[in-house]
Subunit: 214 residues, 2 copies
């Protein structure tokens, strides 16, 4: 397999989403220049990215087959096999993720949720059953859960990380603000909405200041 | 104001969330070493970060006042004044964001939502009214909306960006996979869940390969 960068990896799901939209509209071929125009990247960037994942190089004047590109990117990203996942912590954010239907298209299958609140244990949210925390170990082991999505309060996250790893989880999608310490071989990917919004608001303030001093 | 980096800016909301939790537990003082232990960063990093935002330098053996630090960070991040925002595109993701209650603590007030689907126009989601797209310009102008949260289909995003900017929006929180082209002075911050998940899954695959070759 060709080498690729983290930035390239981040763009492949973007290409995939766009190509699936083309497929659904009945479009059969596309090209780097057309994709560049629609997605806002440069042609050169897209051409190099596609060389990493695509098996053929396309036909001059026709471009690449949309179905083939979808297949190539899905294979590259490992979307062929859905990875079983659970959500731990069913507050507003956890509930929102359980209600979001897009994860199946991203290779992750949310199978269940866990929380300690007796008012929601036993209910279903977004079609997924909510279990009590006492069931966590049994469920992860029996179902072979690989990804735990963390939407728990910050102070619970580190201890919980150690527990789920012991039960067999190998990856944590961490929506808490905590920087988790895990043993080698365990993967953590952080999402922080507050940090993203803080960057947005600060860029706005900067932009305002520049306007005033003009 | 002291200089700060993008990485520092991303950490201030994390400190703020933690400090608010301390406050709610009745804790009145804390220190860089204590925060370092809880949050998983180094003491030196936290000490330097706090020097950017905090007005006093704390008392030896006592640390810094929690309330004062909250106040300093909220002021720094501009959370004193809630920025009015709307969500455009009420699919699963847009609906999830409308149901999430955490944005008020991050300085953003979601006031309404916009969509073209007649089945949801006129309803309320997460307590926010859903308007038809024909109301977009009037609403943004009359309410002085500054942030537009984009959860529309990819192919609609670029044209929509040009429209909302014309109506007076100065910042787009972009949850679509499109790289938006906007004029100078307009701020775009991208969130891409598919890219984050792709990084997670790929790191997992890498980690598996390393385990097998041991």
């Amino acid at each position: 397999m060709k080498k690729y960068s983290k930035n390239q990896l981040e763009r492949f799901p973007i290409y995939l989403k766009y190509l699936r939209e083309l497929r659904d509209q009945g479009v059969r071929h596309t090209s780097s220049p057309l994709m560049a125009e629609k997605l806002g990247y440069s042609q050169e960037l897209i051409r190099k990215d596609l060389q990493v994942v695509c098996r053929d190089s396309g036909t001059p004047k026709v471009g690449r087959g949309v179905m083939q590109m979808i297949d190539d990117i899905e294979t590259f990203l490992g979307y062929r096999k859905l990875i079983p996942a659970i959500v731990i912590g069913v507050g507003h954010l956890g509930g929102a993720l359980l209600n979001y239907k897009g994860f199946l298209d991203m290779g992750m299958h949310l199978e269940a949720a866990f929380d300690n609140d007796p008012r929601i244990v036993g209910t279903e949210i977004g079609g997924k059953k909510v279990f009590g925390m006492s069931m966590l170990g049994t469920y992860i082991r029996e179902k072979g859960i690989k990804i735990a999505v963390f939407t728990v309060p910050a102070e619970k996250a580190q201890l919980l990380a150690e527990q789920v790893v012991e039960y067999g989880v190998t990856a944590i999608w961490n929506w808490t603000p905590i920087s988790l310490k895990v043993k080698p071989g365990i993967v953590v990917e952080n999402v922080n909405l507050a940090s993203s919004l803080a960057k947005l608001c600060h860029k706005m303030a900067d932009s305002d200041r520049r306007s005033f001093t003009r």
